[in-house]
């Protein structure tokens, strides 16, 4: 029943609804993501992006459907969904601070092990762990306690954990927040490499990052899909411009008012891109 999905399966989300005591955070969202593409989910603050990921990973109760291949994800407990091959990161990097990078990864690799191997001491480094370390550029940090890694390194560690976990679906919640430009480039290239064989869905605020690495984009606004398509298509969509310009009326501006500077930056980015197009 809980056999992991084979690579090649797609993630198909249909008519996803999430309510928090009457408040509709996600109201009928549908999108899909396939291996081979870097899929982006964007939208203003409070649009429901994180909630979508929470629903897919079993953290929030939801109705509708989220299928990985033939397997329905909704309604299963969190750890069972993970065992089907769905992995995620969190908006605030969440690693085991007291454990070393190696120990963090070793735990992530552990779900493929037998219970009895848990009682033994780790000897050597798993090849899959070594590979993930090289992929994410953390080889030199093997013995470093995760708690003292830089912000960017922690996020890479999280991605490395998903790799050793052998997740078929990587749901990344703002993976480049707080990173320098070079780190963003490295992360973007990493995601492109990973996406060759896996489903990668990225939630981001950084429009520049989105433009550079997205193959397809879904724009959420107030819990609904506003627009969907390639970067160029989405940016040309007048509805998207309205939301990011803040001219869609009182209701839509409320969400953006929360972080005016961020919205302004996104707006500037979009306009700049428009003039290029």
């Amino acid at each position: 029943m809980t056999t992991p999905s084979s690579s090649g399966d797609s993630l198909v989300v249909t008519d996803l609804h999430v309510e928090f005591s009457g408040f509709v955070a996600v109201g009928g969202v549908s999108f899909d993501a396939h291996p081979g593409e870097v899929r982006f989910l964007i939208g203003p603050n409070g649009a429901g992006k994180t909630t979508c990921i929470d629903a897919i990973t079993g953290l929030s109760a939801a109705t509708g459907s989220a299928k990985l291949g033939e397997q329905e994800l909704l309604g299963r407990p969190v750890h069972k969904i993970v065992r089907l091959g769905v992995g995620r990161t969190f908006q605030t990097a969440s690693v085991f601070n007291e454990l070393s990078v190696l120990q963090n990864l070793d735990i992530a690799a552990g779900r493929h092990r037998r219970w009895t191997s848990l009682l033994r001491t780790r000897r050597g480094v798993d090849p899959s762990i070594m590979q993930a370390l090289e992929e994410t550029g953390l080889v030199d940090e093997l013995a470093t306690p995760a708690g003292i890694l830089s912000h960017g390194q922690k996020q890479w560690l999280e991605i490395a954990m998903l790799l050793v976990q052998d997740a078929q679906v990587l749901l990344l919640d703002e993976p480049v927040a707080g990173m320098s430009h070079d780190e963003r480039t490295a992360t973007g290239e990493l995601l492109q490499r990973i996406a060759a064989k896996r489903i990668v869905l990225v939630v981001e605020h950084d429009m520049d990052f989105m433009r550079r690495y997205a193959t397809r984009v879904t724009v959420l606004h107030q819990g609904k899909v506003l627009s969907q398509g390639t970067v160029a298509e989405v940016q040309a969509d007048p509805k998207v411009q309205e939301v990011y310009l803040g001219t869609a009326g009182a209701a839509t501006t409320a969400a953006m008012a929360a972080v005016p500077e961020e919205a302004a930056a996104e707006l500037a980015n979009l306009q700049e891109e428009d003039s290029h197009a």
């Binding site: 992995g87 552990g110 003292i148």
Partner: protein
Amino acid sequence: MTKLKPHLSLGGIGVFAVLLLAVAPSVLTDHWLSNLGKYCCWAIAAVGIGLAWGRGGMLVMGQGVFFALGAYSMAMHLTLETAGDGVPGFMVLYDPLAPLPAFWEPFRSTAFTLLAIVVLPVVAAGILGYALFKRRVKGAYFAILTQALAVALATLVSSTIRETGGDTGLSDFKYFFGYVLNDPANRTMVYLITAGLLVACLLVVWQLYRSRFGELLVATRDAEERVRFLGYDPANVKLVAFVGAALMASIGGAMFVPIVGIITPAEIGAAASILMIAGVAFGGRASLFGPALGAIAVGWGQSSLGSTWPEGWTYIIGLLFIVVILFLPKGLSSLPARFRAARRGPGEPLAAPAATRQLEGVTS
């Protein structure tokens, strides 16, 4: 460094074993040896608390419950052994004609008693832990719940005088599995068994702490949600540590009976459970030796100060608890590391070594 550390700890257990098993019996008087045996019983329970609380983050405030399961199993067997074929004396006092309560009967058997000491806490903690951890009960709720169970069990024992001896408890045991308890040689043997069990428990947690399970337990303690998102069920991880702690408490309780010669509800209730926690906090809950040494220290304080100055003792232990929590949250066993850090001086870049040391504390 990380390679060496576990073997240093193993050496430490060796030294500890020599002190307890060879040195103590040859230098201590019978009185103090039996006292040390009593502290060892608490220390066995404390090692379990270190596992559940120090590494697993579960504040087990009711270990008296599992201590009682072992203690009363043993006490019932020893009482029956003393009474021979008859009904124990204290029962005859209340109702000369009534038969032995049905649940006493199987404790005539040595094998059943030994099995009960192991199986009862495992089953009880297994059911309780499953119900609590699957429902994600944690933190203060968990602590209060376990504490309440200890109170409830102590009250139950107090109120069932004819079945359990009530507040007077069970005592006057003459034999320990055939050995006369009055004989000093046999008393030394009981002590050696207890000390040996303590060393064995230390070895078990030593291996657990350096195993993958130990790392997973710490991970679960620090970020339970994250562990869930790696495909584990944290409830199962916590359950293993909780059941292990219960088993150790039961073993400690079982040995307490032949060593002290009496078991009463006062030894299993809220106060006793908290005192066990106090020893662990005092010594350093997450370290290997901290819980055992802390429990021995608190036990020693109780019998020396507690008997010469009983009114003051409660305040002293309370004060000690506050001081340790305020100034040494990781217990006395963190003193050497602190001392080294202080000697290295404040000028040097401390961030990396300090964190590594913390890490070692976790893996050792």
